[in-house]
């Protein structure tokens, strides 16, 4: 259970990293571009964090704390995904 949640979280964060750096190409500067640079750095760091947590807790026996931790991490990854979707939508609106 914990491993599955962590794996989904890590995969989502890897996807977020890919999307985040892809969006940077569409907004190289300006307000969105500057904020996106900062956002991408944090996304990369968090992805690394997810991986580290996954590796360190992989062999741990599942308990309530670990389940809560992995759920929080997964929800964090979903939050980042939604923020990036919002940025994508704003950029699409600006293009149109």
């Amino acid at each position: 259970m914990v491993q599955v949640l962590l794996a989904i979280g890590v995969l989502l964060m890897l996807y977020n990293t890919y999307v985040g750096f892809g969006l940077k190409g569409k907004a190289p500067g300006g307000i969105i571009g500057e904020r996106l640079s900062q956002l991408n750095i944090f996304i990369a760091l968090f992805t690394l964090g997810y991986l580290v947590v996954g590796v360190l807790t992989w062999s741990y026996p599942p308990d309530t704390v670990l389940v809560i931790l992995s759920l929080i991490l997964l929800l964090g990854a979903i939050f980042v995904f939604l923020v990036l979707r919002l940025v994508q939508a704003v950029l699409a609106a600006l293009e149109g």
């Binding site: 190289p28 500067g29 300006g30 307000i31 969105i32 571009g33 704003v90």
Partner: protein, 146 residues
């Protein structure tokens, strides 16, 4: 393109509705292109009205690219000077990147459309390219459309 404004002569003659409209708009310096856009009058009618107002001495030519206050009705694109100035402003701020906006500028059919597009472009630049360039372009656009 000609630019007109009021003279100091008092308005003591009866003007037609259209003449009053054009006269009122000439309170501040305004180009013939902008007058045509704002009054929605055909160019030949506007030309006649401007000629009358000039004859009455109610307005004067401030600056222009022609020696007479006439507007060529056969001119294919009365927005050409605006488009050229807008593109020059874009080129000054964006350099060669401005080229990709040329076709979009050329497609605009009216001054209002061109102005709206310019403001959208400023917003886009501010959000995705450069705030500095957007500020500079906004200043130029304000000058161009007032």
């Amino acid at each position: 393109m000609q630019i007109y404004r009021h003279t100091s002569k008092a308005l003591n003659i009866l003007l037609s509705r259209e003449e009053r409209l054009v006269y009122a708009l000439c309170r501040e310096e305004i180009s013939d292109v902008l007058l045509a856009e704002r009054t929605h009058l055909p160019l030949d009618v506007l030309k006649g009205i401007l000629a009358s107002l000039l004859e009455y001495g109610l307005i004067e030519t401030v600056a222009g690219t022609q020696s007479t206050p006439s507007i060529k009705p056969e001119e294919s694109d009365p927005l050409a000077p605006f488009k050229a100035q807008l593109f020059a402003a874009l080129e000054a701020e964006l350099g060669t990147k401005a080229e990709k906006y040329r076709s979009e500028i050329e497609q605009k059919q009216s001054l209002a459309e061109l102005e709206e597009w310019s403001h959208k472009l400023v917003l886009k630049l501010r959000l995705t390219i450069s705030q500095k360039a957007a500020d500079a372009l906004e200043t130029r656009i304000k000058t161009l459309f007032t």
